[in-house]
């Protein structure tokens, strides 16, 4: 059993507020690009499972040519192989074209030994959709578990996991192959080791392009009219008073008047 972990290279979250409409429209971002923070948990889980169950791990990322920093980060953390999918494969299409390309890439990884588990993050900090894993599961025709907080066991072609949702937690058993999107609670991602970073910096990362993968064009929705949400300019009113009791009473007055209490 081998594992593919899907990772995206995304802007450093501290720089997200600086992203302009122009940059978002063209995709030419000036921001520092890093491994999508949610995907660190998926990478960590892949590494952990490789120790637990002796499986091979491959990180797969779709991005622009040469966008390999996130993949190198995954390699430095301890993933065995990396694979870049040139985003031209998805032909500027929608989420389903992207999912199709990633699914196809997963089956290519499989040519060297079957992938039976795809791990993904919970969402990308740029796309924010949390739909790519649903698309990948759908295109592969595999089952999908989301918001998984623990992989309990893998045995007899079945995977047992715990997943959380708003109303509680459940333990679920599912036959392999399966796509799993992991929650933050699942682990504590490690920092890349010095040796790992050195090794990753020298790694040659294979690239799959449109000559290798064919994806049907899909554009079921278009994103238009991009804009910066107007942040309401609020002038803070500092509640003054001689004691905390007085301040508390005055704050209570204004909040009752606002009718939010």
């Amino acid at each position: 059993m081998n594992i593919a972990v899907l990772i995206k290279q995304t802007p450093d979250t501290a720089e997200l507020p600086k992203i302009s409409v122009e940059e978002a429209r063209s995709g030419e971002l000036r921001a520092t690009m890093v491994l999508n923070p949610w995907d660190e948990f998926a990478v960590e889980e892949a590494i952990d499972l490789s120790y637990r169950f002796g499986c091979k791990t491959t990180a797969v990322s779709m991005g622009r040519a040469g966008e390999t920093d996130a993949l190198k980060h995954a390699l430095a953390m301890g993933v065995e192989n990396a694979l870049l999918v040139d985003e031209e494969v998805a032909g500027g299409g929608d989420e389903w074209a992207a999912a199709d390309a990633l699914a196809a890439a997963v089956t290519r990884v499989g040519e060297e030994g079957d992938v039976e588990l795809v791990l993904t993050g919970k969402m990308s900090v740029d796309g924010n959709s949390g739909v790519i894993y649903a698309g990948v599961a759908c295109k592969l025709g595999w089952d999908l578990l989301v918001n998984v907080t623990r992989i309990v066991d893998i045995a007899d072609g079945k995977l047992i996991a715990e997943q959380a949702f708003e109303g509680g937690q459940e333990t679920v058993e599912v036959p392999m192959p399966v796509v799993i999107s992991v929650a933050k609670e699942i682990n504590e991602p490690r920092y890349p080791s010095f040796m790992g970073i050195r090794k990753a910096s020298r790694a040659a990362i294979p690239v799959l392009g449109s000559a290798d993968i064919h994806v049907a064009a899909s554009s079921t929705a278009r994103w238009t009219d991009l804009e910066k949400p107007e942040v309401e300019q609020v002038q803070v009113r500092i509640i003054e008073g001689d004691s905390v009791e007085e301040k508390a009473a005055r704050l209570a007055d204004v909040l009752m008047a606002e009718k939010v209490i």
Binding site: L16, T220, A221, W223
Partner: protein, 326 residues
């Protein structure tokens, strides 16, 4: 032509955010001249099905079977697609909960339909449904134009006002559960409900949150913040710094890598207002900050502020509100 709305439920109790969505669908349906149908999937949904009529559904479809007692993607998708077909739906809407999000995405992918995930608004333009959503973690807003026959959206909780229920009732149409338990690949072997009485962050009208400002005595600090939350009937939130320091479990975290919330009132106690925190709560209607540093960035977003020690201010607020809310 129909707008189909999935009503999420747990043990027969509908998730109330779905009524916000159903009422919005009804308004959209009037503009588009299409009917609005609610879809219930579960083992005991009769009461929630009648509520759907009361909250504005023109038609209610329900699939009821013991195999549907808990959400599992495979049978739920199958039934949702059956309902899309039966009603000739032009739109399929779900609340953007964990399950609603994955159900909407999977239905959309299988139907080759466009999706607006975690949409923040829906409206009609030139006789067609359009959605808004944010990308780059709330820093860019986009209009989503559907190019497919079916439009699918998962909609963030509290995007629309909660409607009043009417006295309307109706006859529920039955959908068949097409899968036997043996055909369903996923088996749920254990289930633990969340603690009863705990108010969920995404539903809350009021949230009181604590941050690293409690560091001098974290246990006491969160006890005080918790008491204020309880007095206000609020959900309890936290910054990542508080979660990382182990003061409070992760499920309370608000922000970029925590929950996105939109309460009427957000009270930030000892939280500096880092952009990653603002990404999760910046859209709250009214933000109140209690912070002893008058230059804390949170005051650039807050409408009201108290510059003082939270260890004395928070209990004073609790005392004041318990007097007034008696």
């Amino acid at each position: 032509m129909t707008i189909l709305v999935w009503i999420e439920q747990n043990d027969g109790q509908a998730v109330s955010n779905c009524w916000e969505l159903l009422a919005k669908a009804r308004a959209l349906g009037q503009e588009l001249d299409t009917e609005v149908a609610a879809l219930l999937i579960g083992s005991d949904v009769e009461e929630a099905a009648q509520q759907a009529f009361a909250y504005g559904a023109g038609r209610v479809l329900a699939a009821t079977d013991s195999s549907l007692a808990r959400f599992r993607l495979q049978p739920f998708v199958e039934i949702a697609e059956q309902a899309v077909e039966r009603t000739g739906a032009v739109a399929f809407l779900a609340n953007a909960s964990i399950r609603g999000g994955v159900l909407a995405a999977t239905v959309a992918c299988r139907q080759n339909a466009g999706i607006a995930a975690s949409a923040t608004d829906l409206w009609v333009e030139d006789g067609k449904l359009v959605a808004a959503r944010v990308i780059y973690s709330g820093n860019i807003r986009a209009r989503i134009q559907f190019e497919s026959h079916l439009a699918v959206a998962s909609v963030r909780p509290r995007s629309f006002p909660m409607p009043e229920a009417s006295e309307r009732t109706g006859t529920v149409e039955t959908l068949d559960a097409t899968l036997n338990e043996d055909d369903i690949r996923q088996k749920i072997t254990d289930f633990r409900a969340a603690e009863a009485g705990e108010i969920s962050l995404t539903d809350a009208h009021i949230i009181v949150s604590g941050g690293r400002g409690v560091a001098a005595d974290p246990q006491k600090g969160f006890e005080l913040v918790g008491e204020l939350a309880q007095t206000l009937g609020a959900a309890l939130g936290a910054s990542r710094a508080a979660v990382d320091a182990g003061y409070i479990p992760y499920k309370h975290q608000v922000g970029q890598t925590g929950k996105t919330v939109k309460p009427d009132l957000y009270v930030a106690c000892g939280i500096s207002g880092a952009i990653q925190h603002l990404a999760g709560m910046g859209n709250s209607k009214i933000i109140v900050a209690v912070n002893k540093d008058p230059n804390a960035p949170i005051f650039e977003r807050a409408k009201y502020g108290i510059v003082d020690d939270l260890f004395t201010t928070v209990p004073a607020l609790t005392a004041e509100f318990s007097k007034r809310l008696k």
